[in-house]
């Protein structure tokens, strides 16, 4: 049986990617989430809920102190933009985040002898993050092949980004087809203290638009619903 490590933030994309890996591919999946000093800590609870609902082999939460490095509205005291135009790389960009997360996932893949690494990156509704592009993922794959024990021993890690060219609506359609309950997921960059999404950050906007395109209600409770 194929073993995979799946990056799982508990957001819409990564949860769908996990559903794809388990329910469509039939892989044995280890999910990995990062406690990186993010302000939106509710995503850690969401990743746990989704991992349990989909039935992973094990859910791993790794602490990595990106807040000590700084430089992002997701870890520092910047304001998260609301209903904003999309111009270039937003301040919610966390420096080198996918590079760091993929590296830690590659480390876990060595320990659990996983052949594949799954990431929910996509470039269609992509908000200008350079580390979601296919050319980055391929360059990372090559670095991991050359810099890990399994890689040099002839078992390089494959990287799957099944959502890479899908729109948000197509991602939601896939997840619903696979029986994923999006009420378990969490996408907001700037939730209320009780975890309710703001409805207006980039992440909420793309998500709501995706459900709207399908003529469906997002199961999350937005303040202006």
């Amino acid at each position: 049986m194929t073993t995979a490590v799946v990056l799982l933030s508990g957001g819409l994309d990564s949860s769908t990617a996990l559903a794809w890996a388990i329910r469509r591919q039939g892989w044995c999946c280890h999910s990995i989430a990062f406690d990186y000093g993010q302000r939106h800590r509710h995503e850690l609870a969401a990743s746990r809920r989704v991992a349990e609902a989909l039935g992973v082999a094990r859910h791993h939460v790794i602490r990595v102190d990106l807040a000590a490095i700084g430089g992002s509205a997701l870890t520092d005291e910047f304001d998260v933009p609301k209903d904003a135009e999309n111009n270039g790389i937003p301040i919610t960009y966390v420096p080198a985040r996918n590079l760091v997360f993929l590296s830690l996932a590659a480390a876990l893949a060595e320990t659990v002898a996983a052949e594949r690494l799954v990431i929910g990156a996509n470039i269609v509704d992509y908000s200008g993050y350079p580390d979601c592009r296919p050319e980055f993922l391929e360059a990372f794959r090559r670095a991991a092949e050359l810099g890990t024990k399994r890689g040099v021993e002839g078992h390089p890690l494959a990287i799957d980004a099944p959502l890479i060219r899908m729109s948000k609506a197509e991602i939601i359609r896939l997840g619903l087809d696979l029986g994923l309950d999006y009420a378990l997921t969490h996408s907001c960059y700037d939730p209320a203290p009780d975890g309710r999404p703001c409805g207006h950050c980039d992440s909420c906007r793309f998500r709501r638009q995706g459900f709207a395109e399908l003529g469906l209600a997002d199961p999350l409770p937005y303040p202006d619903d």
Copy 2:
């Protein structure tokens, strides 16, 4: 003035690389050390001592929980081999360690707007770690270029591995020429509780052999001196 991020474990190689960056190149250096659940915690104190002695702009200690990922004698309860033959990749290999450390250093480089990243990797006295090879470093450089904001904005990070083809003796000679006090450094994988090196792990053996080749005394206190 050129700004660089320098990986600094407080060991012989990384300390020499920092001395090279500050005293030979004249760069403004941010040193970065990792609190990764290593059993040899004395290296964190050594990295602080060396950073202070050489005069970095700032020393950054980043927590990253590699012990939760496991798979290495440096984080888990394996025995560190003593006076061992070198066959392939040793159990002191930490899965994807340099991939993770370089990624976090690249994140810091974005935050402090550093143009260069310096690593003390070398392949001559190299103990079989795949992530010390030039081809890995080049693949990583490319991934960082494609996956970071500064990279895609036309300011890709350069990676310097000034010690990559030097023997341990040559590295020590360079450090001494630059006035580095090796009494501040720490190389042992398995020190005594008071921090004294064991003298017999791979790291101690390579280091002692380097000083011996130069006809010099290692300033560290070994139990069998």
